[in-house]
């Protein structure tokens, strides 16, 4: 099997995640889609690591995971805060900047 298949899979997962970020309104789902995009990128890193015979890609993927975890923690905290003040988890309702 061709290792490039993993890369195709990664590209498709990334695109699906992107669509989700744009189209879903529930902030938590949006967040999950962002995680999906990050994971797709990670898959590319791991695959390239294998293609190049070099572990640097895996290390970068590891760092990505840590950063993603941080992001989730802070992001979810923000969602909780917003929910507390506006009783809604929809990203469209957090549009104070509009006017």
């Amino acid at each position: 099997m061709d290792a490039a298949n993993y890369l195709y899979l990664s590209a498709l997962l990334f695109s699906i995640g992107a669509i989700g970020v744009v189209l879903r309104r529930n902030a938590i789902v949006v967040f999950m889609c962002i995680e999906l995009m990050l994971n797709a990128a990670n898959l590319s890193f791991v695959t390239f690591s294998r293609i190049n015979g070099d572990l640097n890609g895996q290390v970068v993927a590891f760092f990505t995971m840590v950063v993603a975890a941080c992001e989730v923690v802070v992001g979810l905290a923000i969602i909780v805060t917003i929910y507390r003040s506006r009783r809604s988890a929809s990203v469209d309702d957090a549009s104070l900047l509009r006017r």
């Binding site: 938590i28 999950m32 950063v67």
Partner: protein, 263 residues
């Protein structure tokens, strides 16, 4: 396909089998995540994708990352997601109708174009040399090899990332911390409020679910002394989820109060 240098050579048949079974399932799960209305279901599908990815990592000679993926994502992150879902959004199911005009076709076209072009580009890419596997790099074991890199070449980013983690934890605590705007009411104040503010009917407290009913489950409203159901006795979140049993089935007939009058 010999001129395509990304080709690592035909991997062993079990990996190919694994990929061709798991990859379509992953894609379907990801698409499902996009399409289901309930956030909880999205989360479950997401967890599936995560696990599938972990398996792919392990299959690609990255066992350490695979385990970390399962522990961090399916273990910690997904739990966190579910937790927050329970806190804020478990009652809502998204409407999939688009409210911003023109956004849906634009987004889908752009994303599909992006993915298609990516795939197209990848299929043409060449390295100009034959690819290598990870057998040599992992000769001392994958964990040891990554550890060697992490603590030598990447020790500075590693420390920075650890600082970031701590900062994120503190940030989350600060953000999620609830600032009390008013004074916490004292017992005395609560008691006074109960008698002065609302009707005397609730002065003794709301009825607990199941009281005077023929069923003592939490999703059954209490029956008031006159036999009518008391919706206030049910937890609001149960009501919002629609998990409330109709109390009509457990209602008593008209209460005969004549005996009391005789006394």
């Amino acid at each position: 396909m010999n001129e395509v240098a990304l080709q690592v050579g035909q991997t062993a048949a079990p990996e190919a089998l694994l990929f061709w079974i798991l990859a379509p399932l992953t894609l379907i799960a990801a698409l499902g995540m996009l399409l289901v209305r309930k956030a909880v279901h999205s989360a479950i599908l997401m967890a599936f994708v995560m696990i599938a990815l972990a398996i792919f990592y392990i299959a690609q000679d990255a066992p350490f990352l695979g385990i970390v993926q399962i522990v961090v994502y399916t273990g910690a992150v997904m739990m966190l997601f579910l937790f927050i879902l329970m806190l804020v959004g478990v009652d809502s199911s998204d409407s999939l109708a688009e409210t911003i005009r023109g956004l849906r076709p634009i987004a889908i076209t752009a994303a599909l174009g992006f993915g298609g072009l990516m795939v197209s580009l990848l299929s043409r890419a060449t390295l100009g040399r034959s690819a290598v596997g990870l057998e040599a790099a992992n000769s001392d074991g994958n964990v040891e090899a990554i550890a060697r890199l992490l603590f030598s070449r990447y020790v500075w980013p590693f420390e920075v990332v650890s600082a970031l983690l701590i900062t994120a934890a503190l940030g989350a605590m600060v953000l999620a911390h609830h600032h009390r705007i008013q004074e916490r009411p004292t017992q005395r104040q609560l008691s006074i409020d109960r008698f002065r503010k609302d009707s005397l009917a609730t002065a003794a407290g709301l009825a607990a679910p199941g009281v005077f009913a023929r069923h003592n489950a939490v999703d059954v409203p209490a029956l008031l002394p006159d036999g009518s159901p008391a919706p206030a006795s049910i937890n609001a979140s149960l009501k919002a989820r629609g998990d409330v049993l109709d109390s009509a089935r457990f209602e008593l007939g008209t209460v005969d109060t004549s005996a009391d009058e005789e006394k």
